[in-house]
Amino acid sequence: MTGTSRGVVAARSVAATVGACALLAAQAPAAAPVPAQAPALRVCGDPENLPFSNERLEGFENRIAAVVAAELGATPVYAWWPHQRGLVRNTIDAGTCDVIFGVPEGLDFVLWTEPYYRSSYVMAYRGDRGYDFRSLDAPELHELRIGVHVNTPPEESLARRGLLDNVSTYSLFFDPRGDRDRPRKLLDDLVAGTLDVAVAWGPLAGWTATTSDAPIELVPLEDEPGVPLSFDISMGVAKGNEALKGRLESAIDRRRAEILAILEEYGVPLVPAGASGAADPNPEAAPPASAPTAPAPAPRRLNPFTGNADMAAEGRALYFEVGCQGCHGGGGGGGMATSVIDDAWTFGSDDEALFRLIKGEMPDQTMPTVYSVLEDDEVWKILAFIRSVYAGDPGRIDW
């Protein structure tokens, strides 16, 4: 569960999107042809996602980017692409820009810097309604109208409390056909009074509390077992781009006070750096912001059973027994879900990626996360079987 939840954390970070931005992105390098100018910090910016970022540079990430660029003696040059599904593939991987601001921990497609802030999901309510909530455990919540963005971790928190019957869900994602489902609608409805409580990512709610005339109270939510609700936010660069990562981290350290002031100006509810909830099953995954050394990349596990025919045979039995066959086909060719025998891998082809996908830990995964119940060995056996039936390009084997 945790990985899935993390993917959808901070700014909306997924969903289908459109290709028009590629043109905008292509203009970025061409926009700085004068050699005498300061070097560019090429930022992958979201064109319309306040309070984080927009094309008019009104978001707090735009402001932070300007501060960081100034520290590096550079000018921010933007390639615009919505921070949704396909972001990394269409920006950093396509070479149109070098750094994404506002990357939540767990976004595995990039190399993270040390975090520059940490926030949490919050419950927000109008202060003029006579409520005084301290947590989602308040019994009155069973009688109230609650709104939450679909597929975010607090939806699970609400489900655990049996509150889903009262819950209206909102889209976190950009709607390419129009903007009526934009993420702000959740908070607009709270302000308008059609919702009693909104459970939202802190920066979104904090911005509403700061800019709205309505008195909005915010209650930060604490991590729960298996449900992380607070997250470190970093900058992301291309994997292997250690040089830029180091320069950005140095800039974060030197400009920390200015960054903090910007976050406070936008009302971002901050959680002390490294204050991972006691319940976080893997606290070392969230390094403290002031760690003296850069956080080591997560160790990439290898399947101990690859090529082991006995284990693959056991894996085949498990593949049928636990239901993989139901979606991926009796021979692995897919059905409800994708093929697992060709060389198209949505979330990466390596052992680590597939292990996490099966375990339900991959950000943005669409596969059900129910297989967290499998033992690690069972997952490796299933994976050994899948490797044994691979029918794709042999040149693309990286396991």
């Binding site: 679909v150 597929n151 889903l164 019957d165 209206s168 869900t169 909102y170 889209s171 056909r177 489902d181 049928f320 027994e321 636990v322 239901g323 993989c324 066959q325 139901g326 979606c327 991926h328 086909g329 009796g330 021979g331 692995g332 060719g333 897919g334 059905g335 409800m336 879900a337 093929s339 025998i341 060709d342 669409t366 596969m367 059900p368 129910v370 297989y371 119940v373 029918a391």
Partner: protein, 596 residues
């Protein structure tokens, strides 16, 4: 505007909407200019008395309007026409459009797309289809893939209420149209491949409040048996059968999904629907009748209580998901007038029951290849099985007909009172089937069988046929290279329409079976043709194109061809017959009329 003001006034005055709603649909279903119920009328005959288009002039039919739904998965179901507005739906993400037939060019009045939890997508068996919306009392009622039931203002598209009926995180999804009866919207659930326990529930049209919920299996209070349940046929089973016919508590994951087409008899005040396959396709661990999977139910729409239930396929070993539609006809069988219910089941038998009490009157094979049972014993109501075709765990049982896709899938039949014939699209598919042990994990697939599907005797995969329900025999048929996965509509012009997966839309003489007209669609069709009259006074015929559904999933989802067991057997069957060479994906509503 006028309509919504009236609706508000009615609410303000507290008028009894229940009676008004019922009367409204009873009146509208008889107006053949409109098409207000999914099955045209509560008897689900899909017959229209319109007769501008006839066997003599249908050759002049031409496409006069078409409309992209904005979705590219399988398009099952049919649009509605209410007064001068047409309501068009789509496959996931379940767009709805109101089209103004009174204005030149038929512009869009409003559009609506529900906010959905995309975690429903990977647990939707057999493509992301949707079978259409319902109308009553100024409201559009619909289901969403992610398990919600909702109501829209029919004039504005504004969402009036939205409630959760099913939970995709437990493998429960919704694809069905449901049915409005009186002041209730009655719906079921999909998810028979995920170890769900199926149910039917009634929601108040006005508020979305759940009024009752009756499970397909489990204790009597869950199944909701009336005191006189199965009184006329106690041998069908009664109290306790919903648990006692299962080993241990396997009924808890007993399947019995309820996503088919529903019918209603206002005189008897009974709704009719049926339940799907029992949980896990592997029969070995669930020895017993597995009631009430594979069952036709008759329930009181107000209380939900079951008046009778008849199980077609006890201890299913073939995935003969019993959800197909029911047509309510007044027939003369063996010289006796009966209020009949006719049901073409996936298991290859066309059943005729007395719909007052469930008494079985006849059951005949409607696809000749059917070989899993010799016949249905009319005394016991049970199939006389062919033992070597009963599947079991660890054995690959060969050449079973029909396949798990059924001798007919969900595509609903039509009936013409002028010819006395039923018109059905059928499948000529057989299979090899091997069950295996499977562990129940909530929200994970719970299939437990490998199925290899292939064409039956003759090498063709489908047939469009006319069937005499009173006699229980086929009158004529037109073989097709692919399964016929569209519904049919028949008119007083004695023309019957159907579509094909290889992109034809066809008109046939309802009496002789002679092909009269055909045209090519941009994508294969699995939708249900319908007909109406627009304010310009002309008769129109409409059908969706957009390949998909279980058989069409390999093309709809662009699956690779290496694994013939993929998509629960659809990959082998669809690529055997070259479906990917004749169609690509689509999602369009096509409207046809006679050339001026």
């Amino acid at each position: 505007m006028k309509r919504s003001i009236c609706a508000i006034a009615a609410l303000a005055l507290g008028l009894p909407l229940a009676i008004a709603a019922n009367d409204e649909l009873m009146t509208r279903q008889d107006d053949d200019n409109q098409w207000v119920l999914p099955g045209k009328n509560y008897s689900a005959t899909r017959y229209s008395s319109l007769d501008q288009i006839t066997a003599d002039n249908v050759a002049n039919l031409t496409q006069v309007w078409s409309f992209s739904t904005g979705a590219l998965r399988g398009h099952e179901g049919q649009p509605l026409v209410v007064d001068s507005t047409m309501y068009v739906h789509s496959a996931y993400p379940n767009h709805v459009y109101a089209i103004d037939l009174a204005e030149e060019g038929w512009p869009i009045k409003w559009r609506y797309t529900p906010v959905q939890d995309d975690r429903a997508v990977p647990v939707a068996c057999c493509d992301l289809v949707h079978r259409g919306v319902n109308y009553v009392d100024g409201r559009i009622l619909m289901t969403t893939l992610d398990g919600h039931v909702l109501a829209l203002d029919a004039e504005s598209g504004e969402e009036l209420w939205k409630v959760r009926n099913a939970d995709p995180l437990r493998g429960e999804t919704m694809t069905m149209a449901g049915l409005v009866v009186k002041d209730k919207y009655i719906v079921g659930v999909s998810g028979g491949e995920f170890g769900i326990r199926g149910w039917v529930a009634a929601y108040a049209v006005e508020s979305g409040e759940q009024l009752w919920k009756a499970y397909s299996m489990g204790p009597d209070e869950d199944v909701m048996l009336a005191p006189d349940f199965n009184e006329a046929n106690p041998h069908y089973g009664g109290s306790g059968a919903g648990t006692e016919t299962w080993p241990g508590d396997r009924w808890r994951n007993g399947g019995g999904a309820t996503w088919g087409w529903y019918a209603y008899d206002p005189d008897l005040d009974l709704i009719y629907y049926s339940t799907g396959n029992p949980g896990t396709w592997n029969p070995t661990p669930r020895e017993g009748d597995n009631k009430w999977s594979m069952t036709i139910f008759a329930r009181d729409p107000d209380t939900g209580l079951a008046k009778w239930a008849y199980q077609m396929t006890p201890w299913d070993a073939w995935d003969y998901d019993g959800v197909n539609e029911h047509v309510l006809l007044d027939l003369t069988v063996d010289g006796r007038d009966v209020k009949a219910l006719v049901h073409f089941d996936r298991n290859g038998f066309a059943y005729v029951l007395d719909r007052t009490d469930g008494t079985l009157l006849s059951a005949e094979k409607f696809v000749e290849a059917t070989n899993w049972a010799e016949r249905i014993d009319l005394e016991t109501g049970r199939p006389v099985e062919v033992p070597e075709k009963r599947t079991r765990q660890g054995v690959n049982t060969l050449d079973i007909c029909p396949s798990a896709m059924g001798a007919k899938n969900q595509q609903p039949v039509s009936f013409s009172p002028r010819t006395g014939l039923i018109y059905a699209g059928t499948n000529n598919l057989c299979m090899n089937y091997e069950g295996f042990e499977v562990r129940y994990i909530a929200g994970a697939p719970y299939v437990g069988a490998n199925v290899r599907i292939f064409a039956g005797p003759g090498g063709y995969q489908g047939e469009f046929m006319a069937w005499n329900p009173a006699a229980g025999e086929k009158v004529w048929g037109i073989t097709e290279p692919f399964p016929v996965w569209t519904g049919t509509v028949v008119t007083a012009g004695d023309v019957v329409f159907y579509g094909t997966m290889d992109r034809w839309f066809k008109a046939v003489d309802a009496r002789s079976g002679e092909p009269l007209w055909q045209t090519r669609l941009p994508s294969g069709s699995i939708g249900n043709p319908m007909t109406f009259v627009a304010p310009d006074g002309k008769q129109y015929v409409a059908i969706y194109s957009g390949i998909g559904g279980w058989f069409g999933l390999p093309v709809a989802a662009d699956l690779s061809r290496e694994d013939p067991l993929g998509a629960l057997g659809a990959v082998g069957a669809a690529y055997d017959s070259g479906l990917d060479r004749v169609t690509s994906v689509g999602g369009t509503l096509h409207v046809f009329a006679l050339e001026d």
